[in-house]
């Protein structure tokens, strides 16, 4: 694991220097936040809408970083033989994977922080109520979706294909899982479909932590399970 911190720092810098990645992870969610908050108001439960929008968009950011940006970076690196050059060094594939994941999750942390800052200053954001619960849910969400992103990055043939596959997985998922519109406002049919996506447990757990409810152990276990299975598959499928 030598040099891990170094690789993470450099990969994060590279992601922030990439205009596409920076736009997707930082500016795009902020635009959606603004669109969602144009009417303001409360949810049927009486919850101010900002207290649902910021946590669910934080999962949206995780999804963008891990399902869209991460696989594209990995596939581009393979296509351009960046990975092959790394393979001729003592750096291990586990380290390269770990560093890619960590750098993209730090990108998501930055994106989430942007949302929270806008929320606090523009829309009187109060939460999260249960900070450790929210952080745990966020990290598990990042682990599970990040592992799926690594798997896509390991399987797709090219950088272009990675972007197509990533967006095709990401967009339907954010709509049905409640990362784009609050779950309670979705039609029942959409919600029950969304519950089968790997993003749904992340949305539920992060929002539960935000509002101070205990997250269900099942959602946390599902995320841990997805992480273990998808990351093992990604390591197995990995090509330099």
């Amino acid at each position: 694991m030598k040099g891990l911190g170094n690789v993470i720092a450099i990969e994060l810098k590279l992601a922030l220097r990439d205009p596409m990645a920076a736009f997707f992870a930082l500016a795009f969610p902020a635009v959606i936040l603004w669109m969602k908050m144009r009417n303001g108001g409360t949810l049927p439960s009486g919850l101010p809408i900002i207290e649902a929008v910021v946590p669910m968009l934080s999962v949206f950011v995780i999804g963008l970083a891990s399902l869209v940006v991460l696989p594209a970076t990995m596939a581009q690196y393979r296509e351009r033989r960046v990975l092959k050059r790394l393979r001729a060094t003592p750096a291990s594939s586990t380290m390269i994977f770990g560093a890619q994941w960590a750098a993209h999750m730090l990108l998501a942390v930055v994106g989430t922080a942007v949302l929270a800052v806008i929320g606090v200053f523009a829309y009187n954001l109060q939460g999260p109520v249960d900070v450790p619960g929210m952080v745990l849910a966020w990290v598990l969400g990042a682990l599970s979706l990040g592992a799926i992103g690594l798997l896509i990055g390991a399987l797709v043939p090219s950088g272009r294909a990675a972007t197509v596959v990533g967006l095709a997985v990401f967009f339907p998922m954010v709509f049905v899982s409640g990362a784009m519109s609050a779950r309670e406002t979705l039609p029942e049919s959409m919600r029950s479909l969304g519950d089968w996506t790997p993003m749904a447990p992340a949305v539920q757990a992060v929002r539960a932590g935000w509002e101070g409810h205990a997250a269900s152990p099942v959602t946390l276990a599902v995320m841990a399970g997805i992480f273990i299975v998808a990351s093992a598959a990604a390591l197995k499928a990995y090509r330099w």
């Binding site: 030598k2 040099g3 170094n6 690789v7 450099i10 810098k13 590279l14 220097r17 990439d18 690196y77 351009r80 033989r81 960046v82 092959k84 050059r85 393979r87 001729a88 060094t89 003592p90 750096a91």
Partner: protein, 238 residues
């Protein structure tokens, strides 16, 4: 002292046999050239030596290590410049050197290396903005950043203008003068003649001739390595 010892190396891709039977020895501190036409198996042979490919048959020792079973140890002690390898476009020269240095247990001082190879003026330049000559210079520095005992250079000067090629030759001689063993894959005869202490000509997956440039020239009864190469491989210029 023998640094690389290869006996009867074989490698096939699916049904296509690339390496038929490669046998050669590389001695410590020499620049060893591997010459041959495109598709002769030069790159495959070097990739086997640096642990990037698994041979199908034969024995192979680099610094006394098996590149397959002792890969981790070997990678700490060798440096590689791959054909058409790249770095992310947005990475800066100094970042790349520091990053690669961090992979090794006992790296060279990357700042000193950057200075020695004339890269300091470009330290803040992004990889994507460098010209071919600067990219190659960076690749050589990256191949050396782990303080290697053996360096593999695969078609280092392909695509460089004549001035950049000359400069690169000087850099490779400097490398040898510091005691590093250099394995150089090339298809430029003038390059092999100017640089190499010994040369192996590989054709159709076998070493067909081996010797110093002078030995190969007299073996071919010609005046230059270029003529000798065609005389020895019985190839005609079409």
């Amino acid at each position: 002292m023998t640094v690389i010892e290869i006996n009867g190396l074989q490698k096939s891709y699916k049904t296509h046999r690339v390496l038929e039977d490669v046998t050669l020895k590389v001695e410590k501190g020499e620049i060893f050239g591997i010459l041959g036409p495109n598709g002769a198996g030069k790159t495959t042979a070097v990739e086997c030596m640096s642990g990037l490919r698994k041979p199908d048959g034969g024995t192979l020792r680099v610094l006394g290590l098996d590149p397959q079973t002792q890969r981790a140890e070997l990678l700490q002690r060798i440096g590689t410049q791959l054909q058409e390898a790249a770095l992310p476009d947005a990475i800066k020269v100094a970042e790349a050197l520091r990053l690669y240095a961090s992979f090794y247990d006992e790296p060279a001082d990357w700042r000193a290396l950057m200075d020695e190879w004339g890269l300091t003026e470009k330290r803040r330049a992004r990889f994507g903005s460098l010209s071919g000559g600067w990219k190659q210079r960076l690749f050589i520095a990256l191949a050396l950043v782990g303080n290697p005992e053996v360096v593999f250079l695969d078609e280092l000067t392909t695509g460089l203008d004549p001035a950049a090629r000359r400069m690169t030759w000087g850099l490779i001689r400097d490398m040898r003068d510091r005691g590093v063993t250099v394995v150089l894959v090339t298809h430029f005869m003038d390059e092999a003649e100017a640089l190499c202490d010994r040369i192996a000509i590989i054709d159709r997956g076998q070493v067909v001739h081996e010797g110093t440039p002078g030995e190969l020239i007299s073996k071919g009864h010609t005046n230059s390595l270029d003529d000798a190469y065609f005389a020895l491989t019985e190839r005609t210029v079409s």
